[in-house]
């Protein structure tokens, strides 16, 4: 199929339009970053006067100086890192164990348990009961566990694990049992090493979910010191978070509104790690999506 000659004019048009459309779209995914980078090192005055531009009249590193002299961004990074690492580890553990448990034929109640995890996906009581239970009954307000616990168990991930573990032959587990060893030991020493692909996938999906989340903070966190990264970004750029003229950031109506360049610089600093990691992790995501889609 590679050596075909294109003698049909419609095919030429096809080729050209394919390249134009796709190139335009891909440019649109790249240009924003460039814009953000440039604006973040633009002089504030030129932003106010001329607007966002790829070609500012003057450059300035003022924004970054201000950001790094303040602890807000760093603190948000700390919070998000702790939440992501803890949350992802625990979640993968919990979902992995559950997925394994319900993948085995000998576990007679696996169908009922699967249904148990499945039901809330199609019917839930809604946000208000959830909010009241989480804040009043579970006391998860302004609390780092509030950022971790709600996402620990994802039925989708449990089912991904289950479907993968189902492909591991029962005989393997049985002979391991004969050799002696508790089910848990077998899980850790024999099954898990075989599950590297699914582990990588679920790990990355979970980590991305935690890293990018801002909903939990939106509903449950009022304490500035517990703002995760994306939520902090949201509040800064919604001008709810103001910048004190001296240097620190504060919530409330004293002080001046953060400079445009500071806002955009914060934006850039937030995107940074994700974009750096992207080339390395994207192939796992692609695989994961294809795996999930087969059972869609």
């Amino acid at each position: 199929m590679q050596d075909r000659k294109f003698d049909h004019i419609s095919e030429r048009i096809l080729d050209v339009s394919v390249y134009i459309v796709l190139t335009l779209f891909c440019l649109s995914t790249v240009l924003p970053f460039i814009l953000i980078l440039i604006v973040s090192v633009s002089d504030e005055a030129s932003i106010i006067n001329n607007g966002y531009s790829f070609f500012p009249s003057r450059f300035s590193l003022e924004a970054y100086k201000l950001i790094f002299s303040d602890s807000l961004v760093l603190r948000a990074y700390l919070v998000t890192t702790i939440v992501t690492v803890t949350g992802t580890t625990l979640s993968v553990l919990l979902c992995g164990m559950a997925g394994y448990g319900i993948s085995l034929k000998k576990v007679k109640y696996r169908g009922n348990i699967a249904l148990y995890f499945y039901l809330p996906m199609i019917f839930s009581a809604g946000l208000v009961p959830w909010y009241l239970v989480v804040t009043k009954t579970l006391h998860l307000k302004d609390n780092i566990f509030a950022l971790i616990l709600p996402y620990l168990v994802s039925p989708f991930h449990i089912f991904l694990f289950r479907n993968y573990f189902k492909t591991i032959p029962d005989s393997l587990r049985e002979s391991a049992e004969i050799d002696g060893g508790t089910p848990f030991q077998i899980f850790i020493r024999i099954i898990l090493p075989l599950a590297k692909p699914i582990l990588a996938t679920v790990l990355l999906f979970t980590a991305l979910g935690y890293w990018n989340d801002w909903m939990l903070a939106l509903w449950l966190i009022d304490d500035k010191d517990l703002y995760p990264l994306q939520y902090m970004l949201y509040r800064i750029m919604s001008l709810i978070l103001f910048k004190k003229s001296g240097g620190g950031m504060s919530v409330g109506d004293t002080g001046t509104v953060p400079m445009q360049s500071v806002q955009v610089a914060t934006l850039f600093v937030t995107i940074g790690p994700i974009i750096l990691l992207y080339p390395f992790v994207q192939k796992y995501f692609v695989k994961g999506i294809m795996m999930g889609a087969i059972k869609e």
Binding site: M1, R4, H8, S10, V18, V21, L22, F25, C26, T29, V30, P32, V39, I47, N50, Y52, M97, A98, G101, I102, K106, V107, K108, Y109, I113, Y116, Y118, P120, I122, S124, A125, G126, L127, V128, P129, W130, L132, V133, K136, L152, V153, P155, W211, N212, W214, W219, Y231, M237, S238, Q260, L267, T270, I271, I274, I275, F285, V286, I289, A293, E296
Partner: protein, 303 residues
């Protein structure tokens, strides 16, 4: 009830499942009885179960207000557009990508397309903000450069459905392309070859081979998406629109309405009624669409 012998025999396994069961119970099952708040006049002191029962008052209040119609319509309209355009563009891009002959460029483009999926909605919404800012945004500067009058984006509601749908597409296209492209790649090359021998050009191949073979996947994914049509995309919309009252007319969906009612006005019972309305109707819609999926292809139904 539960057979003790089975539980004991496989106790290690049930123990492994238990933590997930417990945590899941706390966040997904424990709130369920709280749905009763829809029928009560909630006050903080008495809690959900102590507050007075007022029957359908909350529902009456909501449905008689303009919000019921507006939020429902917006939810459905925005979601429908998301599904339609999202699918259309993802399929189109997948086919286009497949037609690219330069393998390196193809990989590069696929990777680039997928980047927005990675970004949080906050980042996306701030990019949108940078474009559609009234004074300094890229859009207005471009318009002025081309000689037109700047548009006051942040006060005109009519533009924002398109912007929101556009953002959704931008974020979701990479994901859709992966699914559709992997389907296309799975098509037997022999079919294309024999059609070539019959004199077909590439456009005809797309029209008569690729598209028809994509239709099953498209139908299933679309039906499943329609199943969730009553559950809006709170994150994207709230991140972009926030509390901008001027835009609520076209962008306020059920979830954002509930959010404002709870966080801004502490109207728990009303919000609870709205939430219940959504859960119940949404459930019926899911049942309906799932039945359709079952009729089409039993393997793909949700249950």
């Amino acid at each position: 009830m539960l057979k003790k012998r089975e539980l004991w025999k496989n106790r290690s396994y049930y123990m492994m499942i238990l933590p997930a069961i417990i945590v899941f119970f706390l966040f997904s099952y424990l709130p369920m009885p709280g749905i009763i708040i829809a029928f009560k006049d909630y006050n903080f002191m008495d809690g959900i179960f102590g507050s007075p029962f007022i029957g359908l008052e909350n529902f009456k209040f909501f449905f008689m207000s303009e919000y019921a119609w507006r939020t429902t319509f917006n939810t459905l309209w925005i979601n429908a557009n998301n599904i339609f355009w999202g699918t259309f563009i993802a399929v189109m891009f997948a086919i286009m990508l497949n037609e690219m002959r330069n393998m390196h460029l193809k990989k590069l483009y696929q990777n680039l397309m997928f980047i927005p999926y990675f970004l949080s909605v906050i980042i996306l919404s701030r990019i949108v903000g940078m474009i559609f800012n009234n004074e300094i945004g890229i859009a207005n500067r471009l318009i002025e450069f081309l000689g037109g009058d700047p548009i006051s984006w942040t006060t005109e509601a009519k533009h924002w459905v398109k912007i929101i749908v556009g953002t959704n597409i931008w974020k979701g296209v990479g994901y859709g392309v992966i699914i559709y492209l992997s389907t296309i790649v799975g098509i037997d090359k022999g079919i294309y070859e024999s059609s070539y021998l019959d004199g077909a050009n590439r456009l005809q191949m797309i029209r008569y081979i690729t598209l028809p073979l994509l239709v099953p996947v498209i139908i299933i994914l679309t039906l499943l998406s329609i199943g969730r049509i009553f559950f809006g995309d709170f994150q994207t919309i709230y991140a972009i629109v926030g509390n901008n009252g001027a835009l609520l007319e076209t962008t306020d969906i059920i979830e954002t309405y509930v959010f404002r009612a709870v966080k801004n006005s502490a109207e728990f019972s009303m919000a609870g009624a709205v939430g219940m309305y959504q859960s119940v109707v949404g459930f019926i819609v899911i049942l309906g669409s799932n039945t359709l999926v079952k009729l089409y292809n039993k393997d793909y139904s949700l249950f």
